[in-house]
Symmetry: C2
Subunit: 358 residues, 2 copies
Amino acid sequence: AKSYNITLLPGDGIGPEVISVAKNVLNLAASTQGIEFKFNEMPMGGAALDLTGVPLPEETLTAAKQSDAVLLGAIGGYKWDKNEKHLKPETGLLQLREGLKVFANLRPATVLPQLVDASTLKKEVAEGVDLMVVRELTGGIYFGKPRGFGTDENGEEIGFNTEVYAAYEIDRIARIAFETARKRSGKLCSVDKANVLEASMLWRKRVIAISEEYPDVELSHMYVDNAAMQLVRNPKQFDTIVTNNIFGDILSDEASMITGSIGMLPSASLGASGPGLFEPIHGSAPDIAGQDKANPLATILSAAMLLKYGLGEVKAAERIELAVLDALNRGFRTGDIYSPGNILVGCKEMGEQVLKSL
Amino acid sequence: AKSYNITLLPGDGIGPEVISVAKNVLNLAASTQGIEFKFNEMPMGGAALDLTGVPLPEETLTAAKQSDAVLLGAIGGYKWDKNEKHLKPETGLLQLREGLKVFANLRPATVLPQLVDASTLKKEVAEGVDLMVVRELTGGIYFGKPRGFGTDENGEEIGFNTEVYAAYEIDRIARIAFETARKRSGKLCSVDKANVLEASMLWRKRVIAISEEYPDVELSHMYVDNAAMQLVRNPKQFDTIVTNNIFGDILSDEASMITGSIGMLPSASLGASGPGLFEPIHGSAPDIAGQDKANPLATILSAAMLLKYGLGEVKAAERIELAVLDALNRGFRTGDIYSPGNILVGCKEMGEQVLKSL
Ligand SMILES: CC(C)[C@H](C(=O)O)[C@@H](O)C(=O)O
Ligand SMILES: CC(C)[C@H](C(=O)O)[C@@H](O)C(=O)O
């Protein structure tokens, strides 16, 4: 039997609840495919801060690096919001992304027919939306130097960051995006602000250069302000979107809300080699933590992405995806996606139903 | 009779058409209030490039500075899209904003009851939306230095920009935002990315400091990715939003599309003193330029903002706003906001109807 080492990072808030459910689902899906998992649970985020004083302990990063894939719950909470930067849970997440060198963040936003009513968009606008944001994750203004605080020539306090991209960083994320688009509908839209920013001008130039390797993919370009509008006006015009770290942060969240069911949306972060990082796109939802109310499906679907993109176990991944659909078809809903006529369940029970479908 | 000098910058695409209509409306509104306008039409954007080789001729900037207010149509078009940066129409616009020192960009996004169906959002979500984005306009990554191209330590080509804010820049835009919120519903939401960016940490710190001058305004903070989601989920939760230049570019466009009628939305850009710059938020729409199809209402409402915020002529401004509503109530619609049962008209005829209402 094949055996994989998985690092689990439950994190904060609802993280531990959804990870525990996803772990059970992974185990069952694996056993039906003759796979075995060894899980290694490590502290991360606010939980790690409380335990060790830092948001990403070295042991956690080392364990993650040595495993075959990493599944993260969620991090953050009011408790640590006022911490200094190096003691924020978010900083731990950025260090994890950097440490694992996962430069490609894949964020699907799909409106399931079962959940089309959850969107705030009109049915005819929301129905059939199926797009993928490919976000650059280890470069740009998140990591650019110089950064910090200082004073300007008049002695005024300043805060500054650097948006910077090197050609190779753009090339490698562009290739992932073209490959992704090729496997989907063959349409790629690159989003930048090349009418204003030099970093975006280089972005556009390199994306165009790389497009010559993918003559079968139809490439278009859009300014980020227009993209933010078009996602609201007609999200169905998009298939694959590729963009930088900060624009990807904003647009992928906007796209996810367009589906109306962010409790359903997974993500994968991949590097050139080494383990990938898989996490639901929702946050730690401290308000409902520990109340068995969280929707575990985003984490379960992240586990499916882990199988597919992280381990190449496509069959097991598809079984999980089908099981999620089956549980939805049988009417089970957590509070965030509940509408009258369905069966309202908690986090654990939703997990049980997915196991049953599996 | 009071007399004002207005610089008109028709610009490109549909710019000349909508400016010509707005000019007539300004004239009539003025005459009924005992005001007189002297108009000075100057080239700008692509039109200026073709005529003079630069997107903002010195004569244009000088004329603008010496006038009492500036009304701009729209700039840009395919023709100049591949120009080098200093020869882009957009660069002219940035130079104009910088030259006039208009650091505060006010962008209302209002869903009129007459046009609620134009939104792609469900009626119950869109109806009653009435928010104002206060965007910092002459700082941040748009203007920050260093910027440009170069090579990194491995000889890789790089493109870079600097997101930088000084305390005084944040303080002055924050004051405008608090004043704006105070005149509206008394709620201000400051949007930043203070969990990652130092420039945003300073932003948040200064906004909190300035809030002590406005104890009657309720201040909240939101990360930009969450704001992009919340605008889709429940735009009515917002009244006044204040944010930096690039986040404001993205969020104000998203907010405008939520109304479904960006052909209706004006904007005002104001400095500490000197003339303000007023322009519709829509672009130059080269596809429909010269076809008498453009919606002139955004420019007419920008003229109303010019009267109100630029000249303090509140009465004349309100007359124009009421005239626009009256023309809509009488059923007149340009193509972009047309729905069956209304009367489809072109740009000129829409202008005539507003004149009639006036
Ligand atoms: C928590 C935060 C640092 C993070 C980001 O900005 O990347 C989050 O918003 C995300 O998108 O995963
Ligand atoms: C044309 C462009 C430079 C401009 C901007 O980014 O500010 C536009 O998008 C706007 O919002 O007025």
